[in-house]
């Protein structure tokens, strides 16, 4: 079992998002902010500014006009979108790393995170679920706990032993071996980073939405989007498809196989649009 000291040490080893980005995210989250305050916060980070503009002008948003400034991005895309883009820009370097233990090559965890984010938005649209604005952020960060636990999984989970445990879901195996699963570990990291409670909760229960103290449609969407991407191969690590989709979540969101397949048929394109910028 993992001790509190070891967990603390592992959390410290995860790079935090760049300081400037944290400031920008704070400004974006503040309801009193103005576009000029956002520009002000971004003034000394031309790299971040350029990234945001590049993504804002990507085929993902398919805007008729060209966006030339942060101010314009806030006006045209809205606060929430600019927030998402700052998040994408800042997290890619943290989450692009290879993750030992889960057998994720360089870039694979990031690709999975982006895939789940775009799938979550597609599903929310197909299922006509509103009020889940933060699902993009939650999806982008949902597996960040893997960065924390990778080294432990590598030490404790020998292949033959792992593959002989046929029907146990992977999060249960993690818990049994080291006392914590990557969803819980990720929630702990995000709590320390000061992310909103709803995001932290969605990350914590993304493999077991029925265990959440309160049902939340944002968590439900994240759960379904994650399962969808694992099924489609965007991108499963060593655990393959060893997770159990929640039937009660599928039921309460009115999920059907045709909605699943319809959203799946759009995922790849959306993903490439956002990543090829």
């Amino acid at each position: 079992m993992i001790s509190k000291e070891l967990l603390d040490r592992l959390i410290r080893e995860i790079p935090s998002p760049p300081e400037n980005a944290v400031r920008v995210l704070e400004v974006l989250r503040d309801s009193e902010s103005t576009p000029s305050k956002v520009e002000e916060a971004l003034r000394y980070d031309p790299g971040l500014t350029a990234n945001i503009l590049r993504m804002a002008n990507s085929a993902y948003f398919g805007l008729p006009q060209r966006i030339g400034s942060i101010r314009q991005a806030v006006v045209v895309l809205g606060w929430k979108r600019v927030y998402d883009l700052v998040m994408v820009s800042c997290m890619s370097s943290v989450m692009d790393r290879p993750v030992e233990g889960y057998d994720l090559a360089k870039g694979e965890l990031w690709r999975h995170s982006v895939a789940v984010s775009v799938t979550a938005e597609l599903l929310a649209k197909e299922l006509e679920i509103r009020g889940v604005d933060e699902v993009f952020t939650a999806s982008l960060l949902h597996d960040i706990g893997k960065l924390l636990l990778g080294i432990l999984i590598k030490e404790h989970m020998r292949d033959p032993e792992f593959f002989s445990k046929g029907d146990s879901s992977f999060d249960r195996l993690e818990k049994g071996l080291i006392g914590i699963d990557h969803a819980e570990a990720g929630a702990i990291v995000l709590e320390r980073w000061g992310l909103p409670h709803r995001v932290v909760n969605a990350v914590r229960y993304h493999h077991n939405p029925e265990d959440s103290p309160k049902p939340d449609s944002m968590l439900d969407i994240l759960h379904l989007a994650d399962v969808t991407c694992l099924i489609l191969g965007f991108t499963a690590g060593k655990e393959g498809l060893k997770y159990e989709p929640s039937s009660s979540v599928a039921k309460r969101l009115n999920m059907s196989s045709s909605i699943l397949e319809r959203a799946s048929s759009l995922t790849l394109e959306k993903m490439n649009q956002l990543m090829r910028v």
Partner: protein
């Protein structure tokens, strides 16, 4: 040369090349090979039926089994492959845990494939399908050998 087939993609070749595709979850990986002309092709299709998104199928037939399989055979014939000599192998079509039908895209993929082959009087020479593992597929065009790698284990199909 090593040729990679992406998700919702197909590649056909000859000249002793190796064709590879990664991360087959519920997706179908299908190979066809002609032992005389030594040409072959591999498909990595995501979803069973194109009627779910016909526009997408026009843009990329390889996304769906019902449009991808005919396109695979067309490419195979174009390179000189012959139907009566075609050696066909299937892999992938996995599923997550639990019994919820909604998420069994892999099973639906396999059913559509088998119907298509049946209708065209074609048979599968071998298959490695189902289960919760993610698979990588290697296809050697000089020998026709198809190897499935999953969970640190390699087996010939």
């Amino acid at each position: 040369m090593r040729i990679v087939v992406d998700v919702a993609d197909m590649k056909a070749s000859g000249n002793g090349d190796e064709i590879v595709t990664h991360a087959l979850g519920s997706c179908l990986g299908l190979t066809v090979w002609d032992p005389i002309s030594k040409v072959g092709a591999m498909l990595h299709a995501m979803l069973p039926l194109s009627k779910i998104n016909p526009d997408k199928a026009l843009e990329n037939p390889y996304m769906f089994v019902d449009t991808g399989v005919p396109a695979l055979f067309q490419a195979f014939y174009k390179l000189g492959g012959k139907k009566e000599r075609a050696v066909i192998k299937a892999a992938g079509c996995g599923a997550p845990l639990g019994d919820d039908r909604i998420f069994k895209i892999g099973e639906r993929n396999l059913i559509v494939l088998k119907k298509l082959l049946w209708k065209n009087n074609l048979l599968l020479a071998a298959e490695d399908t189902g289960g919760t593992q993610s698979r990588t597929l290697y296809f050697d065009l000089s020998t026709g050998k198809v190897v499935v790698q999953s969970g640190g284990e390699r087996r010939e199909l």
